[in-house]
Symmetry: D3
Subunit: 341 residues, 6 copies
């Protein structure tokens, strides 16, 4: 297995138990999550040397965040300790027709205060075969945007394959600013992951086919977006999408598309009873990174990534704790859920 | 937003965690619920000045009940403190083919010991635009029946619109006694809410169409009942039904009907994964009261009430904690359950 | 109601809360389970004098196991106290496409150290009308295999009807050894319960019809297995199967077949939202034993057993805590899950 | 070990977790307690055939109460199932200078509705060597007072030794009524247990020595009360007191006195860190009953009873779960609290 | 009872369960606390119309804070909703020789962003007899310092008595800045509450007697500080101190001093087993405010305040939930902790 | 800070919540503990590169154990994965006069199945400055005894200082066998840690002074034992004792002695309110190892070790989570427990 690196923020996630509203609870379930940290955790479960590069404050809450990630097998020895606070997000889990609700309290986090030149990229990336980040990291601040580009450039120099999940967040920045920065980011990107909305918000790339009326049309629209992205960003080797068909907060359809200039493959589709959908996209990225690292072909890679992220929905917390064996069994077709004794 | 009043009993609800039997638990989840209190809570979430009129004992358990309702925004300053005890109901939540089970321990509650003349209705109703009660309140005792009529009469005099949910409970009284008392009650009722069974048990009003064989017939039967009720009770302005199509304890269909002498409207129908179905009917009433208070037309009102009560199924506890925004989004068609960030 | 006996091991079951992985938890839910103990608990709920014969260590954990079974109405006064330890199984509950995972730590339990001649069968079986055990008990060790045969022989002599659930567990013994021992066991068996896989693994009996392509074919295959078993084991009076059609860890179809040489009956089929599927097979046995003990005919017996075990899926823990009334209501067709007040 | 019987009410005890107020909690810890049930549980832990005679309602809450007592080894097969409800008591545990607070909701319990002649005493007492009840039982209602006398008379006829704990509760009856009834009760009593206040409230018996100024005087006052009781009630063989020297809700001194007409003995004194003091008096009775049943002399008996009840303070819940071994070790002087491996 | 007002920040308090470190927990107990909010809660328990003036963000966390305070009887209708976030503090409770540890994350809270002129003091203070704030509020920012002075001035104009707890926090500001601002604040202060350290840090006022060697000297030192304060700040009517004699995180001595220019009184002293010491100082203020409002003399006032705050140590959370009755019983001398039935 | 190694078994620790008996609980708190693992955790908190050498099974429970230790900063990359099971110990925490109770289920653990030659000591010990083990490790089996000697010999060769805690456990081996093996072990030991009882059980070394009658005599007896040990085992550089003066399960005195051939030092003494005393001895070892590693003199070392282990009593679980700063503050005299803000 390989040494992989991810770069981004982690937040303290404070969730009400069950499906409670904040006013109904006396305690909050405390875990830690963030796009790139989630990818790192998932890759650690799959057996990789998974290194997460970030900034967390030098206090007991920062210590806690590192301990939890270390527990899940992530190498946190390259995390910089500085700044004022760890970002927080509050979560009420939805059910049935009621969506989950996130309240962010992430402003002025240690990560967002990062300045270019503060991280020692050469050391942090030593020996790595992969570097992953998302559109959230450059969205945090100008400093973190510069650091993201710095990291991507260093990764390319050092020989890592790079992946970026667009992950457009309108509460963090504008479409305009996102478009400018992400165009720079994509220059250093080998593997791009996105949603249909991301591509429109960030790059103004829309499907040509109108609003979907059938499953076939939905797939067609994603392909149209993929084609345009690959056409515009010639350095990008391939693009991947997780296709969520959300029936309610409790039930969702789930499949995936992987496309490059030679062709594309859709994964099989899963009908999922949702335990926790936060982080599903990150688990998709991790599945994809693993599959590409171990040399799976396009079809096998998209099936592995789809199965990995289908399983994520069954875990509490942001991170996918599925094992290699569980993912491969599902990708191979066994989703019957019979007890493993 | 308006000042609204409701009148009825609250009970301490003691539920086993998850889907446990009593013998499986070491602790009981303690909340408070009762038809009219539930309506008051829901209306408070929607922004109304929501006043709950009741009787609770002058002890630490009574204090607790008031604190919990106050927390959820209900004005409890008109609750009378007297009597011996707060009623209790024990609850085991069902799942799949196993129904939930309620064990009542509500006899001789403070509310059931109420006598006419003990409440100062003029003060309690001051400034109110609406008054709501249910068929449970007069069922508790002769005294509470008299007080219910006293309250309804005062509300009409004072200018409130009145609503009554028939809510027939066979453990509290007989069909015969219910019929006599509720006929009196309905004389003061503007908006009547009922189930098909209520109308038959209390008023002997049955659908003409035989047992349903299709969805169309089910709707037809409700309309037939509505017509008969509106024919018999000429003071009633409109009648509303929540239509539950219960597949199991875990899954249910849900829609609604609102009918008056000018016409009727059925809401769209929801397929629900149930978190807690207790209090769904009360949340339907609250949604209806809100919609009528803010002047929605028949179709919009029934859609709002149906969406409100569909969302109730996603909350632990008797009360609907959905916000105005959540209800309106669902009524407008977004039930996809995507995370709100 | 009758005095019934079951013979087998109980284990401490340590489950992570909710759908958590071991690394995600700080506490384990502790209950006790084992095939024959589960049957005893279920029969006690149905009103029988239910006596469980076993061996548990003479320490505080053994005391705890007995207390929990005594709580649920099981007579544990014939349990032998000796040996070193109580077996343990660790459980992570699956959801959606992720299966539940069991980690056994049962080697060298008190039960597996049992030697023939150590139990006083005459006293233990006094007054009993039924004796039940499973293929797990003889699989534990040579000593427990000998004791199982000893018990079955004593039960037959004493006049009990006997039932055996094949319950093949590949981690405990080989197909070859299972085939030899279970052939002996079946010589003393009146009512046999099995799965399709059990019959193939233990007896090499396979359906003639190839891999199922439709529901009809699935049923046909089970009948073919039943016919062959009844043909080969002429002392067996009837054979029963629970038919699980597992869609995922969260959803399963469930029905049953009961067959003897005069004919067969399939139960109606249930679509189940799973709370906990462990022990479903045991609850099916208990339902069947009850129905046969009270003289139900073949069709009624299979419907009762299917309804009982459908309800099991709604309870946390290994044991079916459904009441006689709940099972009969479901067997009679009411699975709507409306609240029982 | 002997067959012992106790007669009295059990209540559902609903306690806030930790030291919380009701308004601070979302769940209540549910256990069951009552003076005579507590004694029965404690005697069962000590190895006796412990039979509890009572009345509980025929509903799921009544079933639960019996299951919990059965779990702890108590024979509940002679409990009558009738009446409307199980009494409840709510508990907030105090700490430091804040006392624990009990809110009773026990009126109209099944036990209080008992009428003389309803229990089959001959069967219930068969084989018993001891019969215990308290002053709470006759205080519940006239019917339960008559039944208490009925039971005591039957126990004496049948050959049981009888014990009564005065346990005066001013919320249940007046001093006057208590004095009349308890004078009758004491006519059938062999072993009397009381507090200083009990004797004054019920019988008007006060110490001659004025308010204590030193430890010696406290002891003197108890002896004076003992002498007067033994003088007035000539049928009473001995009288015992637990001497609580309560420093705060968290810390208490604890010792005991046993006196008869031949002499008296004080136990050693314990300084206790309180986990839960409810039921300490009942555990003292149980310790005394055990010691007398197994033939300990006065000094050994009072030491055993004091040690037993000192240990009770270390258990959550009303019941003393100390083992014979633990009590004897403490009575023999080892209170060091070193880990037992 | 009177209308009282307090002005200051509330924070979300996130505490590990029991005595756990952050790395040991999966959930955090969520309550709300802040000096002036704590005083408001305590005064509401004592029966006053307690109004809390503050600023909280217009999001679900802000709503939650208000709901919790409303639950405890505080009038939150004058709280301004604006700004970005609610401050947070993380808490690990210490035990024995290990102190509790607080990690603050309160920078840039809604309250700290307050500007003078943003609050409508006339409306907020209408009808009030008392106004309380602390040295924490002006320490948050220049804006909140200006608003504090604005509020104090308005309160004096409107006729309220004013109290201020110095509460010096070195993480929020320097001694120098504190000295300047608090000198202004004290100009509007009638009742001053402080610790020995506060007076030295903020005003440079130190006891003349050297480091204490005996209990008598400790008292002398406090009197010396009191004298100097009353001498320097001639507008201050009286000054009060809570005297903590902390033996460990689990045990503390506790008493109080109230002094004015006519004389002084020390309360009796309590030995306390600590459940939660956070907020003890605030409960002392609330006890003092109550006692002065209802016209107690100096000795009675200091005894009431000391008893109130002694009881605070027995409650989980920042707020004192002791009732008037409990405090008066303790002030009158009953700290025995016997169960109140 | 230095690289330190420890060698020994870890067990899954399953504790009832609070002070519950097994029969009172529904869940067990799951942590991991073992003498040498506890030392490793504590040294990691103090900033050392802490490496734990052990054997755990290759299953999900083994993974869990490693994750928890990794979380707390321990390097587990040299743990061998083989064997059948992880040992377990069940724990009921005592209170007041009731001692804690441990039920072991550790037979046939992976560690006990270790054979000499199976571990690669050269790699495992690379770079280490210290090697620690206890008398429990060789007591597990002949194989683990041989491996312990193998490890000690390798550590000495490689240049590590070695420490051994005698830790005699009579359930694991006899005094005779312990004496033989530990005499070998001590040949490789630089720093010996023991209790008075250990020395008598293992080496037959007893104090000359009779049973203690005063504190002075207690100290004298420990010195007598120390002298004899140092006389007999000439390779041992120094010997340390933690002196527990256990008043009850809730309160204990605690101090320490460190002695070598040049002299000795007693630490100051602490009066402790116990949260969890398991692992206190291990935390003493860790404190001592740290102090010696960083070059503290005898007096400073014994004070640091005593303060560290005094603080351990305030943490849930086997491990000492005190920080360097907390220990140094206490060793310097601040045990007041004032909140650290």
């Amino acid at each position: 297995m390989a040494t992989v690196t991810t770069f981004g923020e982690v937040m303290l996630r404070l969730k009400t138990p069950g499906f409670g509203r904040f006013v109904q609870t006396k305690e909050l379930e405390a875990t830690f999550g963030g796009g790139e940290a989630n990818v790192a955790v998932s890759l650690a479960q799959l057996g990789h040397q998974s290194r997460w590069i970030s900034v967390v404050p030098k206090n007991a809450i920062g210590d806690w965040a590192l301990a939890e990630l270390r527990k899940l097998g992530v190498d946190v020895s390259h995390v910089s300790r500085r700044g004022e606070r760890l970002g927080i997000y509050f979560l009420e889990a939805g059910a049935s027709q009621r969506p989950s609700q996130v309240v962010y309290d992430r402003a002025r986090s240690s990560m967002s205060a990062l300045k270019p030149g503060e991280l020692d990229w050469a050391t942090a990336l030593a020996g790595a075969k992969w570097f992953h980040t998302t559109g959230i990291t450059p969205a945090l601040s100008d400093g973190s945007a510069a650091a993201t580009l710095e990291g991507l450039a260093a990764a390319k120099r050092q020989g890592s394959t790079t992946s970026v999940d667009l992950n457009y967040r309108q509460k963090l920045w504008s479409s305009k600013r996102a478009g400018e920065v992400m165009a720079e980011v994509v220059r250093f990107t080998d593997v791009l992951v996105a949603s249909e909305e991301d591509c429109e918000q960030v790059f103004g790339i829309k499907p040509r086919t109108p609003e979907p009326k059938s499953g076939t049309q939905v797939r067609e629209r994603y392909l149209e977006v993929a084609d345009q992205v690959l056409e515009r960003f010639t350095g990008v080797w391939c693009i991947a999408f997780a296709l969520r068909d959300s029936h309610s907060a409790s039930k969702t359809g789930w499949s995936a598309l992987l496309a490059d200039r030679q062709g594309h493959a859709f994964s099989k589709s899963y009908e999922i009873n949702v335990v926790d959908r936060v982080g599903a996209g990150d688990s998709f990225v991790a599945g994809l990174v693993h599959a590409l690292l171990v040399g799976r072909d396009q079809r096998a890679a998209v099936e592995f990534a789809a199965a990995a992220s289908a399983l994520k929905h069954s875990f509490h917390g942001d991170a996918n704790l599925a094992t290699l064996d569980e993912i491969e069994r599902l990708a191979a077709g066994d989703g019957s859920g019979r007890v493993q004794r």
